[in-house]
Structures are given as structure tokens and as C-alpha cells.
Amino acid sequence: MTFLKLDKIKKTFGELSVIKGVDITASKGEFVVFVGPSGCGKSTLLRMIAGLEDVSSGTLSIDGKEVTYEEPAKREVSMVFQSYALYPHMSVFENMAFGLRMAKLPEDEIRRRVGEAARILQIEPLLERKPRALSGGQRQRVAIGRSIVRNPKIFLFDEPLSNLDAELRSQMRVEIAKLHRNLGATMVYVTHDQVEAMTLADRIVVLRAGLVEQIGSPTELYDRPANTFVAGFIGSPKMNFLVAKVTGADNAGLQLSHPAFANGFLSLTHSSAGKAKIGDLLTVGLRPEHLDVAAASPLLKLTADFAENLGGSTQIYTRAGEDTIIILANGRPDLKPGAQITAGIDPRHIYLFTSDGLAL
């Protein structure tokens, strides 16, 4: 059942169109992540759900009720801000209790709810402190606690982890995932970090320049990206792209040529092969983690350029003519700059895109 529905949502600031018609639905209990580069409109979209930003056109409904023009406080959503946005003059307890006091809940109910949230988030010893006496991670917990106590219909997160250091970030990421599992609440989460998107989301919405590029589960986006933008955005390091020419095509398969191919060409079977014509240019997508420098039948011949040792694995930057190809190799292969190497790939992991960038 649809719990959150964005229908043809648009946002313009004067002449400038920021959100250009977005349709998104989420069911109850789902964890939806909006991901995209800065300026893609993901935060604006979230703030529109919260009611902090006016909707220029389209409709927004939560739990079957249209709330497009409803006041923020009446939407029963809560939000965790990037800067935490705790009230600096109130104690941790008062910060968490504020919304409940405003809703005129009885005092013992307020104590019970705040105590419960504090227990879940392990911030019980901090309840009397002021926000300034807390570390970044603790403030983040309080901000989440403030959301939990109100028992909102939807939790909104606006890049909540981007002010934390790397270690704390991964720790809080796990906690948010657990929180979602334990509360079973509907959550909408905005991030520019595709790792957060991949690990947290039930469904990812990839946005670019105010438009939805693709919506799907993390696995779907990774395995079947709709276009080169999504393919490049999901996965780290980013997918390699080579523009190759079609030299043979029939309904069963394709033959492509590129100077970097070890044999000068690549033959592969592909279900949509029939759509390509000889002479077309196709973009071949190869994920760094799928490339294998020790493959028996190599696809690419490359010139090693630079290697980054990551401890357990090595990120190898190679040149294929004009293009740079990144390979994520296990262990620490001994490579001198300029060395000639080869790399193979399982043909099932080869992605093909038309010259418009759409998946073939």
C-alpha cells in the first residue's frame, strides 16, 4: 500500500526550475534513499515532504491524506538535520521533550517516551547536558532521539552523517539501519554518498538535475542501471566506460571494436543485440571490481599508470589509449608504471549503453 506519494512534484524559484516533475511512492515501513550529486534537488525534495519548502505544483500525500499545503507540524513527520539543529539552550531531555510538550502530552508519558528513546540510543547519562557539551556523534543521537519520541509517520533524514568522521559515520550508519529494522518505520533519507544509499536503502531514488534517473533496489541499480549516469553513480570505484564501435550485429550477439580490446574486438551474446546496427557507437561499462588482471582469456590490454595500495586490495589506474580504466585487484600485484598488463571480465558483467547513455 502506498504510504508516501509524490505526484508530479515541481519546484521553481522564480525562473529557475529545481524539481522538474517527480513521481515517487513509498510503502509503509520502507527505507527510501534519495541520492544524487550536489544540486540535484534531493534536499529540496525532502524539505518539500517536510513542508519546509513550498510545492510549486503537484500533490503530496502521506498515509492516504493529501498534505501538499499542510503546515509542517501537522504532517506528523520528523526530521534529522545535517547540523542536528538541537535547541542550544535546552538540555538533552528538553530537546527531546519539546515536541511532546507542544503536543500537550501528559508529563509521565513524556518521561516514559524520552526515557525509552534515550535507552534505545544509549544516551541516558547525557539527559541533563546541554548540546554544547556533547560530541558530534552524541548530538546526532539526540537529534534522532528527538525524532523517535514523536512516533512520526515518516522519519526524514537530511544528510545526517556528513558532519561525522569516517569511523563514526559507518557506526551510525549501522545504527540507523538497526533502528529502521526495530521500529519498522517509514524513512526517507537524503545523501550524496552512494555507500550510505547502497547499505541503508530498501529502494534508492537516483536524482539528477531535478529529475528521477532511476528508482530501484540497491541490487537492481547495481546490476541493471538504466543509464550511464546511474551506472557511474552507483558502485565505488566508479564504473569504467569505453566507447566502442559495432562491427557486427545480429539477433544473438554483437561484435564491438576498440583499440584497447586484446583481440581488437569483443564478441558477446546480448538479448537486445538486435537493436544495434553496424557502425553504431556503444558505451561499454566495466566495473573495476569485475576486472581481473589474472584472467586466462583477457579482454583488455592496458598500460599500468599508478597503483593505490588499499591494504587488502589495490586500485590500479591504467591507460587504454585516451581512456583511463580503473581495476580493483585483490592483493598487491607488483606493477611498474608503464608496464603492459591485461585484464579479463566475465561477459555477464559487461554493461552496454547506447550513445544516448541509455542501457541497451
Partner: protein
């Protein structure tokens, strides 16, 4: 060169001479001394002397606390002080309430151009000299051709003899003071409101739709430092308020607008009893300091 010679140089080369800071500060300190510190010391010393320049033959002997006892037993002094207090508690709440309302209106989003215009307009009364405010007041409240009476006429209410009646004159100086100082309050509050981080205001808007709750629980703490400064400045200012009232009413009719500073001026420059006037001025200074300390202790709190 460090290391060469017997000892390395300790003083770093700051790129300016040792006396340079002195020359930069000297003009300001000198001016402050001439127009602030020296007169204060002079008044303090004078307050312990018999110092009537209309009767120089009496000489200027030190008479201990005699000036102070005569001031503290002077009914007129107490009456003028009481009137000043009445003036203060009349104008200040109005200025704070109106200033806060204007600030909240200017703090709302939208109508950028009109808001900039309004902000600039707010500075005009502040930039007007007190004496000029008094002159404007005399014109506004003129019985025959003043705009105040014209306004009352258009409402069908008969004209008042503003500056000729006790209540009217007091009301007139109250109105002019409110006109001059409300914008100051508005600007201070506006600055305070803009100190509230946007996300904190938004977090509160998600939790309550009451504008009053937002003001009371979220914005007010950010307004307190400004409010404290405002109260201190206004206290000092009302206690020394002279030119505007002097130009408009000269303290009259009767003693209707005889604020304490007007009374002190009369003692000092009409009766030429500078010893008594100095004692009164020093008492006023002490009252100002006490009120300021009180405000700081009770109200002042840093948010962060």
C-alpha cells in the same frame, strides 16, 4: 639573525615599531579623556564642594557630603526622578513590543525589496538629533497647525492643547521618544532573530505550528543578549534625556515634563549651584550603573 652573537633576539619582527600602537590609540584615548573622563572626575570632585559660580565670593570650599544630603532631602529632585521613572516605564514596554512586532514582520520571508526599504527607513529616526526631534515635536503637537490635532480633527475628536496641558505635554514627549527609539529596538531584535540558525527554526516548525511557542521557546533565548543591551542603553539614555524634552517643553507646563536631567540642568545652569548639580549627576550615574548590573545579572545569558 638568530644564533649569531651572544643571545638570540626574543622580540619577533612584527613589521612595526614599538610605539606605533600607542600613536594609533592616542587620539581616541586623548579625546575620551577630554570629553569623558576629565569631566566625570571634575563633577565627582565638585560634588563635595560648595560651588555656586553665581556667588564666587563664598569660595569653593570642600563641604563633605552636604550636597548629597541636601539632594536626597530635596522633594523636587525625588519628584523629577519619579517622573523620569514614570516616563521610562511608559515608553519602554511600548518600544519593546512595537520593536519586536516590526522585527518579526521584517524577519518573515518574501517581499525583499520592501523589507530592505523598511530597514533603511528605520535608521532615519535614529540618525535624527534629539534637538531636532524636539523641534519636530513642537510642530507636530502645535495647537493651531500641528498635524496631531489635524489627525484628531479628521477622526472627529476635538483638538488638544498638547504642549499647554500637563497630560498632553507628557504624552507628547512619550510619543516622540517612542517614535525615535522603536526603530532601534526593531533593529536590535531583527539582529537577534537573524542569529537563530535556520535549521533550528525549521526543527521547531516541524514540532509546533504555534508562532508564539516558536518565539517563546526558540527565538527568545537568542533575543535576550540584545534585549539586555537595549535595556541598559535605554536606561542610561532616559536618565540623561534632555535636549528633546528641553526643546519641546522646557520641563513644563508646571513640572509636567520636568525629567531629572532637566532639573539638574536648571540647578546647574540657572541657579549655578554646580556643587549640588554635580552631586545629583553622580547619583544619577550610580543609579544607571546599578540598573545595568541588575539587568545583566537577571537577563543576560549567552545562547551558545
Amino acid at each position: 639573525m638568530p644564533g649569531r652573537g651572544s643571545k638570540p633576539t626574543i622580540r619577533p619582527n612584527r613589521g612595526y615599531g614599538r610605539w606605533t600602537p600607542f600613536w594609533f590609540l592616542a587620539p581616541a584615548v586623548f579625546t575620551l579623556f577630554i570629553i569623558g573622563i576629565y569631566p566625570t572626575i571634575f563633577a565627582f570632585v565638585t560634588s563635595f564642594r560648595r560651588y555656586n559660580i553665581a556667588r564666587p565670593r563664598d569660595g569653593f570650599p570642600f563641604i563633605g557630603l552636604e550636597n548629597y544630603t541636601s539632594v536626597l532631602t530635596d522633594g523636587t529632585f525625588w519628584a523629577s526622578l519619579f517622573l523620569t521613572a514614570k516616563f521610562y516605564v511608559t515608553v519602554l514596554p511600548v518600544q519593546i513590543a512595537l520593536g519586536l512586532m516590526i522585527a518579526l514582520l521584517l524577519h518573515k520571508t518574501g517581499m525583499g525589496f520592501l523589507k530592505s526599504l523598511a530597514r533603511v527607513t528605520l535608521v532615519v529616526p535614529l540618525a535624527t538629533t534629539y534637538a531636532v526631534v524636539g523641534l519636530i515635536g513642537r510642530l507636530i503637537f502645535n495647537r493651531d497647525f500641528g498635524v496631531a490635532n489635524w489627525f484628531l480633527d479628521s477622526l472627529g475628536i476635538g483638538g488638544l492643547d498638547w504642549l499647554g496641558s500637563q497630560g498632553g505635554a507628557f504624552a507628547a514627549i512619550v510619543i516622540m521618544d517612542i517614535w525615535q527609539w522603536t526603530p532601534f529596538c526593531a533593529l536590535i531584535f531583527l539582529a537577534g532573530l537573524s542569529m537563530v540558525p535556520g535549521e533550528i527554526e525549521e526543527a521547531a516548525r516541524l514540532e509546533t505550528s504555534s508562532k508564539w511557542a516558536l518565539l517563546k521557546h526558540v527565538q527568545l533565548p537568542y533575543l535576550m543578549p540584545g534585549l539586555t543591551a537595549l535595556l541598559i542603553l535605554r536606561s542610561a539614555d532616559v536618565l540623561k534625556l534632555f535636549d528633546m524634552v528641553f526643546v519641546m517643553t522646557r520641563g513644563g507646563p508646571g513640572s509636567a515634563t520636568d525629567l531629572v536631567s532637566i532639573y539638574i540642568q536648571r540647578v546647574g545652569f540657572r541657579i549655578f549651584d554646580l556643587g549640588t548639580a554635580s552631586a545629583q549627576a553622580i547619583l544619577l550615574l550610580i543609579i544607571t550603573i546599578l540598573i545595568s548590573r541588575l539587568y545583566i545579572r537577571v537577563l543576560y545569558k549567552e545562547v551558545n
